[in-house]
């Protein structure tokens, strides 16, 4: 069978299997084993466990459970609420008021926890009721937090970026840096829209009014938030100062975050500590299982020459590079609507990266564009994880209001992608400046 036709068959069957409700990792194994058995014979199946093991046999992967523990330790404390309070008190002079500090808190918490749903839950629990109390429209209150939460996968340290780095063999440190300025760009766009929407709703005067805080009130919140910020800065410093690898710094960060949670937030009880460890284990196992299974899946694709055939086919199409990038974006967007970011990256990035780099795009820039596409998936139906998290913490806001409120933020993300296409330096300048030009 022609590898391209085979590729189409694999794609259709993968979609059907993955949409059937089977766990993503198991679905990938089912499709991979099925095609290997049919086209390479049952004997070839004996290779699968070795490939699975080999895919996980990678020191860089250790950073995933470590960063997850770091995030879970922070998320299990009141750190989200404290951070929220601190920013509200310190940013009170910035025009735009509460929604600005909410988005700032989302960005900072995203940097600390690396998880989108955790950011939504931690900041939203405080932020949404407070914004509504002060007269912000429900759509802005819910939408800004849903969108702000998605920053978790873009602003470093980000598990999604680690997975991209491993799947494409690119530098994780460089990827982290590439996400910083686009992350800030997104925060800026979200802020502009939030203030505009509040003002346009006619409730601007009340909602955007500034509250005054004394210096004492401003300073008393600092001791509770600074330690975590120091850890993040310390982790990033160790990473970029060349002191240690991502996995090593993440391990130290994880240990420090757990210790700080115990000391500062009195998280002594074994039940609470087990909760942190259990949640981290659940998420890590889920992601690492998908990574192993995706390794088996991509082995199947290349052993049937599908990967190579797709790359050749696209090269022969000879379309303009921006048409190609547009098509890739649409593909990623649609995939992100349905599948978790990790799965999309593991399946698509190894196939797309050679095509993208051959067309003259920067792999780090592409990582950022890909991640923003995945962020859109987090606040779009049918999966839209963040929408459901918001629905869970603010059950009296209708899901429809949350959804409609989030749509303008999706538009902000599309605008960010366009800006990044026009000014790719926004993603590539910081890593180049700090780590020297990519090879």
């Amino acid at each position: 069978m022609d590898p391209l036709v085979l590729g189409a068959l694999v794609a259709i069957i993968t979609v059907l299997v993955l949409f059937s409700g089977v766990p993503v990792a198991v679905g990938l194994l089912i499709v991979a084993a099925g095609f290997v058995a049919v086209f390479d014979g049952f004997g070839a199946l004996e290779l699968l466990p070795e490939i699975f093991f080999g895919k996980l046999n990678n020191f860089a992967l250790l950073s995933i459970p470590m960063f997850i523990i770091m995030g879970a330790a922070i998320a299990s404390t009141r750190a989200g609420a404290d951070l929220y309070e601190a920013l509200e008190r310190w940013l009170t002079r910035v025009p735009g008021g509460l929604v600005i500090s909410n988005l700032g808190a989302c960005a900072l918490f995203a940097a600390m926890s690396g998880s989108s749903p955790a950011t939504c839950a931690a900041i939203g629990k405080m932020g949404i009721p407070e914004m509504r109390r002060r007269g912000y429209p429900d759509g802005v209150a819910a939408g800004s937090i849903a969108a702000g939460g998605t920053l978790g996968i873009l602003i470093p340290p980000s598990v999604t970026m680690i997975v991209y780095g491993i799947a494409t063999e690119t530098s994780i440190g460089r990827l982290f840096l590439a996400g910083v300025i686009p992350g800030l760009l997104l925060v800026g766009l979200f802020m502009i829209w939030s203030v505009y929407a509040t003002w346009a709703s006619g409730q601007g005067d009340a909602a955007l009014r500034r509250t005054r805080y004394s210096w004492r009130e401003k300073i008393e919140v600092l001791p509770r938030v600074l330690p975590f910020l120091f850890i993040i800065v310390g982790v990033l410093y160790a990473l970029y100062g060349g002191v240690a690898t991502p996995s090593e710094t993440a391990a130290v960060g994880a240990l420090l975050c757990v210790l700080f949670a115990v000391v500062l937030y009195r998280l002594y009880s074994l039940t609470a500590l087990w909760g942190v460890l259990r949640d981290s284990t659940r998420e890590s196992v889920m992601i690492l299982f998908i990574i192993g299974a995706a390794g088996v899946f991509s082995y199947m694709l290349s052993s049937l020459f599908v990967t190579q055939a797709i790359a050749e086919w696209i090269a022969e199409l000879d379309v303009g590079k921006w048409w190609l990038m547009g098509a890739i974006n649409v593909f990623l967007l649609v995939a992100g609507f349905f599948l978790p970011p990790v799965a999309v990256i593991l399946m698509a990035a190894p196939i797309l990266l050679p095509i993208v780099t051959t067309a003259g795009f920067d792999p780090y820039w592409f990582a950022v564009v890909l991640t923003i596409n995945m962020e859109i998936g987090l606040i779009s139906p049918p999966v839209g994880l963040n929408l459901y998290v918001i629905n869970g913490i603010a059950p009296d806001i209708k899901l429809k209001t949350i959804l409609v409120g989030s749509l303008p933020y999706v538009a902000c993300m599309v605008v960010a992608i366009v800006i990044l296409c026009v000014f790719p330096g926004l993603a590539t300048w910081l890593p180049d400046a700090l780590m020297g030009p990519a090879r």
Binding site: I30, L48, E50, F53, T281, V285
Partner: protein, 175 residues
């Protein structure tokens, strides 16, 4: 006749499910423990390398194998917690009866494919054990030790999926 045997069979199933669930939980606790210990070992490794200025021999390899073992031993526990991410787009579109048939078939397919992984990983483990394979590093660990995580993890995962399958076909699930 089916209705006659219903109470007994469902009682037995719940006991079986409870036992399998307990085994999965123990496996999950071991998995969490492995992850936590690998945090400590990695920190110790940094201490040895950067503070004591010494070289490390076994740590990097050990934590990788521990992470792999944690992943595999965590599978049944995460299955029990329904923590394996999935996309239930098609089931949502189906009427209840068809949804059950689909759930039954996907679980069955899942068991089959993990069964394949179990069998071949057992063979791999056995080969590594028989021939005394070692990793080609300074530490040179016997490879059957890290490989063991695969048959054990996949085996326990199948057990948990079988328990879920039984729950799916038990008449109680229809309510």
């Amino acid at each position: 006749m089916a209705t006659m045997s219903q109470p007994r069979s469902s009682r037995e199933e719940t006991r079986l499910q409870r036992i399998v669930g307990a085994v999965s939980t123990v496996s999950g606790v071991i998995s969490a423990g492995l992850i936590f210990v690998s945090v400590l070992i990695t920190c110790q490794m940094i201490w040895v390398r950067f503070v004591m200025n010494d070289s490390t021999i076994w740590q990097t390899e050990a934590v990788i194998y521990m992470m792999i073992a944690a992943t595999l031993l965590g599978l049944p526990y995460v299955q029990r917690l329904r923590g394996h991410v999935n996309v239930d787009l098609i089931p949502g579109l189906l009427p209840p009866k068809a949804r059950r048939v689909l759930a039954f078939s996907t679980l069955g397919l899942g068991i089959a494919v993990i069964g394949i992984m179990l069998w071949h990983s057992f063979e791999l483990w056995h080969l590594a054990f028989e021939r005394g394979w070692r990793s080609d590093t300074v530490w040179g660990v016997k490879l059957w030790i890290p490989y063991l995580a695969m048959p054990v993890g996949f085996g326990l995962y199948i057990l948990q999926m079988l328990a879920d399958l039984l729950a799916e076909i038990s008449p109680a699930a229809e309510d």
